[in-house]
């Protein structure tokens, strides 16, 4: 049989005393479909299987999950990228409480995002047209603004697993730098002073799991490095 062997994490708080792994045989008809397609095939068999999904094209960030040990988006991960020996193990994003099956409680992740004040702050009067920004200034936001809040990075980060309440985590810090780097933002010193404790930024140990898993190819470690530089320059 060439059926794909899928092992998937199951937990329904109403009926299961503990989580367990369930085995599925999925007939993909030999096609190299996306992991999300496989999830849909399993859901047709067992409508109780819970997972999030929306855009199915890698821009909404709903279906971050752990596939054969690596975090990524199910909708843009073809089987050929992850399946080894015809076997696929699917688990929810690590480190966050599980609500049901593949659905995790993202509360802590969002809280850290909100903490960095993820909005432009500019205390000068608004002009009648747009604020001007040169293409070079705008280029500095590339690689930062594209974050889709899928949490693949933060939930692959050991520092975030250990201190999810105190360490902002790669996603939040990437967004923090997105505003620090914006020529239109005037709250730099306030933003930095909110981050200067030993945990918020400095818990990053440069492990770079975030970079390895980001489905949008972004580099939170580099952004964190830039924030560190700004904090150190600010302190001297």
């Amino acid at each position: 049989m060439s059926n794909l062997q899928v092992s998937i994490y199951r937990y329904n708080p109403e009926t299961d005393s503990a989580p367990y792994m369930q085995e599925f045989q999925v007939d993909t008809k030999g096609r190299d479909v996306m992991v999300l397609d496989v999830l849909h095939m399993m859901k047709e068999e067992d409508s109780g299987l819970a997972f999030r999904r929306s855009c199915r094209e890698g821009v909404c960030g709903s279906d971050g999950m752990n596939m054969n040990g690596k975090n990524g988006l199910a909708c843009i991960t073809p089987l050929s990228d992850v399946v080894k020996n015809n076997k696929l193990t699917l688990r929810p994003l690590p480190g966050l409480p599980v609500i049901r099956d593949m659905v995790v409680d993202m509360g802590l992740f969002y809280k850290q995002y909100e903490r960095i004040q993820p909005y432009l702050q500019n205390d000068t009067p608004e002009p009648a047209i747009e604020r001007l920004q040169s293409p070079e200034e705008r280029d500095k936001l590339d690689g930062l603004y594209e974050c889709i809040l899928c949490a693949c990075c933060s939930t692959s980060c050991p520092s975030f697993w250990w201190n999810p309440e105190k360490f902002v985590g790669p996603a939040g810090l990437l967004q923090s730098y997105r505003f620090l780097a914006d020529s239109r933002d005037t709250a730099t010193s306030e933003r930095l002073s909110n981050l200067e404790d030993p945990f918020s930024v400095f818990r990053c140990r440069g492990i770079m799991n975030c970079v390895a898993v980001c489905p949008k190819g972004l580099n939170p470690t580099r952004a964190i490095g830039k924030i560190r530089e700004m904090l150190l320059a600010d302190a001297t």
């Binding site: 109780g48 855009c55 604020r131 705008r138």
Partner: protein, 590 residues
């Protein structure tokens, strides 16, 4: 007796996409007790998938640009059934709304002088069609929707908007006088069902592209607001008007922005011919989307399609060079590699017209107030009910929406609805409370699903519905085929009413959500089918083999579908802009 917990707000906004978040922002700033209720975390809404940009005469690319030219393009693009007062409002208010977004932090791409980058899009002209192609679409690379949605969400955080994230609105609650006084909603995480009381209920639930088998739309685009309004007995406008985007990736359905053609890409058939030169000698690949989609289907039907089955065409981008692709269309490069397995810097993208946008929806005025018709055929405001964004039909898009006008619609009319509700609340709104039986009737269908003991499966019925729509209500339509579709849908409705929800659990039960969504798909599909069958002409996106011409004598009108009788009536199009002369209907060529 209902023992539901109730939540009370001044305004409840159902839907956390662009229009919902823009309306919410306006109300949150005003200090009104506002909540956004969204079935997904807001940044997962379908606005995030918008690519090419937001069209608006901000006079950046061309300092002499004029919103009236944009309005002309919009009215012409809509094949003259866009309401001219609404198009006027959108195009003239647009610059203000776009500058606000920039002030909020939206990371627009820039021109050398520091102003917002604008690119050419389809159907755009200067000087009322006389001055050649305009470049009027403001862009953040090819991720404008993502940038816009995140910016709006961020600014709602800044202004402390209340979010009910991952809550699902089930049905509207109407009082004894027919006013909308809130909704029944379910917390997806816990399964708890509550009665949300509100003086203003805003349906910002987006589109319903999932009625078709092949669509660019997110899986969540199931027309929930349209379903709710139809079940509450309210009419729908112009539901036959569905846009098929010329460039969905063949096989996958994912969108490739019109911005590709704006940046200089073009379509070719199997002979390598740039065939749009034959169909639209002036605008070529940047003709209206309906025109381009039809031309592609003609090429395919006449045997000039590409691939083994000859069932698609190619979008050629390689001549633009890696630098332009990397700078202006980075998301498209990514999507092409993922879903078409090609690198557009080297090979063309296989594309096919794909269901993309619902021009029809809940009829509203420019303030977002929902409209119904009294027995004399006169407009009548529905108390308490508002709609904005794709769920609404203001109508600014008429029979065919121009690229980049959707994002503008979201922010202009989300903002307008917010402003209107704020002043209405300030003046004071009092409606009769809903009675127990009013609440129970809004609980009917969730109770039905929860009590279901057997019957057909939800995914199978959904697939059948999508096949019917794809087969009978696609780019080209014809009487017999549509009659067949209408009949099949009527039969399907009966089977959905008896379908089975096997999983009755409470915690994050996505099967229950999908059951409730199926009811909405059914409502949207039937409204679409009946309206398409009854509109006996070809106009904009509605193209019939049996009535190939536009019929301004009988059909220079909105269609209005009434759910109780399943009848199609007509409603007058507005031809009276406030500050300028009417654009009289002309033959539409590009």
């Amino acid at each position: 007796m209902s023992n539901l917990r109730s939540l009370t707000f001044d305004a409840i906004i159902i839907g956390g996409g662009g229009s919902g978040l823009r309306a919410a922002l306006e109300l949150a700033k005003s200090g009104k007790k506002t909540a956004v209720l969204s079935k997904v975390f807001p940044t997962r809404s379908h606005t995030v998938s918008a690519q090419g940009g937001i069209t608006c005469a901000i006079a950046s690319d061309d300092p002499n640009d004029d919103w009236r030219w944009h309005m002309y393009d919009t009215v012409k693009g809509g094949d003259y059934i866009a309401d001219q007062d609404a198009a006027e409002y959108m195009c003239s208010e647009g610059p203000k709304a776009v500058f606000e977004l920039e002030h909020m932090g939206l990371p627009f791409s820039r021109l050398d002088n520091g102003r917002i980058y604008q690119r050419p899009f389809g159907g755009q002209s200067k000087n009322f069609g006389e001055g050649g192609q305009a470049a009027r679409t403001c862009a953040a690379a090819d991720r404008t929707g993502h940038a816009l949605l995140h910016t709006l969400y961020q600014n709602n955080l800044k202004n402390n908007t209340t979010f009910l994230n991952e809550w699902y609105a089930v049905d509207l609650v109407k009082n004894a006088e027919g006013d909308v006084v809130g909704c029944i909603a379910m917390c997806i995480e816990t399964g708890e069902v509550v009665h949300v009381k509100s003086k203003a209920t805003v349906l910002a639930t987006g589109g319903a592209g999932r009625i078709y088998a092949s669509t660019t739309n997110a899986l969540i685009n199931t027309g929930d607001g349209i379903g709710m309004a139809l079940r509450a007995g309210f009419p729908m406008q112009d539901m036959e008007m569905w846009q098929f985007h010329p460039t969905g990736i063949y096989g996958a359905g994912t969108l490739v922005t019109e911005g590709c053609r704006g940046e200089g890409g073009y379509l070719i058939n199997k002979d390598g011919e740039r065939f749009m030169e034959r169909y639209a000698p002036n605008a070529k690949d940047l003709a209206g989307r309906d025109v381009v989609a039809r031309s592609m289907v003609m090429e395919i039907l006449e045997g000039r399609g590409c691939g083994e089955k000859g069932d698609h065409v190619f979008l050629k981008l390689d001549h633009l060079g890696e630098e332009v692709l990397g700078k202006r269309l980075p998301g498209i490069v990514e999507l092409s590699k993922t879903f078409a397995h090609i690198d557009p810097a080297k090979d063309p993208i296989p594309v096919v017209p794909t269901c993309h946008y619902m021009m029809g929806g809940i009829p509203t005025n420019v303030h977002g107030q929902a409209i119904m018709q009294d027995e004399g055929g006169n407009d009548q405001i529905v108390n308490g009910l508002f709609a904005c964004g794709e769920a609404a039909c203001v109508s600014v898009h008429g029979a065919n929406r121009l690229g980049g006008n959707s994002l503008l619609d979201l922010v202009v009319f989300g903002r307008a609805a917010g402003m209107f509700i704020e002043s209405a609340l300030n003046e004071g709104i009092e409606y009769l409370d809903a009675s127990e039986s009013d609440i129970e009737s809004a609980m009917k269908r969730i109770t039905r699903w929860n009590d279901s003991e057997g019957g057909e499966s939800i995914p199978a019925l959904k697939a059948e519905l999508q096949d019917i729509m794809q087969t009978s209500f696609g780019v080209f339509r014809e009487e017999k085929n549509m009659q067949d579709g209408v009949k099949k849908l009527a039969e399907l409705r009966g089977r959905i009413a008896d379908a089975h929800l096997p999983d009755k659990s409470n915690a994050f039960n996505t099967a229950r959500v999908e059951a409730l969504e199926l009811d909405n798909l059914m409502e949207v599909a039937e409204a679409t089918a009946i309206a398409a069958l009854e509109r006996k002409e070809s106009r904009g996106a509605h193209s019939r083999y049996d009535y190939p011409d536009r019929d301004d004598v009988n059909w220079l009108k909105h269609s209005l579908y009434f759910p109780a009788t399943k009848e199609l009536k007509q409603r007058d199009v507005n031809f009276k802009p406030k500050t300028m002369d009417t654009f009289e209907p002309k033959v539409r060529t590009y």
